[in-house]
Amino acid sequence: MTLTATSVPVLWRLARLEFDPVRKQRVLLYPEGVVLLNDTGAAILDLCDGRRSIGDVATILGERYHREVVDDVIEYLSRLADQELIRVA
């Protein structure tokens, strides 16, 4: 699956975001798997609500970080899409 700025990403319905108080880190939990998230990754996933496009997500994060992030967002979500953790709404 190739993601573009117009794709609308959504987490796999069986995956959920949690905060792990032991690692003091956000984590993605799903059947038989765990992804430990850095702050940027968690910020991206928090915005993937099944309504916003990747372009929308990149605009919000771009304002927050004061730079163009759309390619980074596509690259990050594509890696999760390869594992079927991110689907297209």
Partner: protein
């Protein structure tokens, strides 16, 4: 050495099981009911596991549902923040129990199927369990659990891998694990009867690969490679004592469920020690961390960062020395052990079925 937090705990809460599959990964000498940890022992272990960093819990066995406290264990696991999978044969998963497990906060159920052919499934399970499995699958779907099906592949069923994929899709699985037999425990005992041919393995891999694309987005297909037919060994759970721990029914705690066979190690029990001590300080968990223990060619091999010398349990089971390279690796002369095993397997086809008795059964 800076230690990782473990991510995954496999709790083998019992060795009791109504099925007799000859590829079971349980050890030949199994723990009987009166030797099992209590409910209180397990809930303490789950609390300690979460404090240690564990996020994923597998409630497994044996058949975990033979214990009446699975619901209580699942509820405790959820309360301390674990994501829990019940690994079951499906036998005993009645609607009332499934409803209680849902209320308890259990998220994921994995049901084993032995085959897509019912008669062949009955033969390998040593009982007729298919109707109960199908009924369990329907209940799991209906109650909205995340639902996986697991099929262990071996010589007698691997040719039906396409049918298995269709069966899992029709049962509504979210995930299908097609797991080539790993030769530990009962499976090692039955290796000659279970080992597929190279042609079978290649054909099945092609079918699974094509199906992955076809089912993408609806059913995730995970194909676990047959390591005897690979060039390099598997990176056993990402390295010894790095991410994974397993607690046996009697409380002994291991870095891998195959490790009971390593008779040169002594595994401490959660009956005697806190889980944190076992993870951080016990000699067994320290034994193969890092690479100081490695022999050549592993020690100077760039692949040691990828596969960590392969599986310690397999190295011990096949060579008698757990510090040897995993014989699967084609870079070690020990590989002849694997090649010979694959060649020798072409003949006999009689299973030694798994039975929980005081003495391992001999056929």
């Amino acid at each position: 050495m800076l230690l990782n937090h473990p991510t995954t705990l496999l709790a083998e809460i019992t060795h009791r099981c109504p099925l007799h599959c000859p590829y079971c990964s349980n050890p030949l000498e199994m723990t009987r009911a009166d030797g099992e940890l209590t409910t209180e022992d397990w809930t303490r272990v789950f609390t300690e596991a979460r404090e240690l960093g564990v996020l994923q819990l597998g409630l497994s066995g044996g058949e975990p549902l033979v214990r009446p406290d699975v619901e209580a264990l699942a509820a405790h696991a959820r309360a301390v923040g674990l994501y829990t999978t019940l690994v079951t044969s499906g036998v005993g998963l009645t609607r009332p129990r499934a409803e209680k497990l849902r209320e308890a906060g259990l998220e994921h159920i994995q049901i084993s199927f032995q085959d897509s052919d019912d008669a062949a499934a009955d033969h390998v399970a040593g009982m007729s369990a298919v109707p109960q499995k199908r009924s369990a699958a329907a209940i799991v779907r209906e109650l909205g659990f995340a639902f996986s099906i697991n099929v262990v592949l071996h010589r007698a069923n691997i040719d039906r891998v396409g049918d298995m994929i269709e069966m899992a899709a029709s049962l509504g699985a979210d995930r299908l694990e097609l797991a080539n037999t790993q030769y530990y425990g009962w499976a090692l005992e039955n290796r000659n009867a279970l080992m597929p041919t190279r042609a079978q393995v290649d054909a099945a891999a092609d079918i699974a690969e094509a199906a992955k694309g076809r089912h993408r987005g609806r059913m995730q297909i995970v194909y676990v490679l047959p390591d005897y037919h690979e060039t390099y060994p598997k990176p056993c759970y990402g390295g010894w004592g790095k991410h994974y721990l397993m607690v046996a029914p009697d409380g002994r705690t291991l870095p891998c469920h195959g490790a009971t066979h390593i008779t040169t190690l002594r595994f401490d029990s959660v009956r005697d020690r806190p889980l944190r001590w076992i993870w951080e300080e016990s000699p067994a968990f320290q034994a193969f961390r890092g690479d100081a223990w490695m022999q050549e060619p592993c020690r100077t091999c760039p692949r040691k960062a990828i596969d960590f010398g392969g599986c310690r349990c397999q190295a011990f089971a096949l060579t008698g020395d757990a510090t040897n390279p995993d014989p699967v690796c084609t870079l070690t002369p020990l590989r002849t052990i694997i090649d010979r095993a694959v060649q020798d397997a072409a003949g006999a086809h009689v299973y030694r079925f798994r039975y929980l008795s005081l003495e391992p059964q001999r056929v």
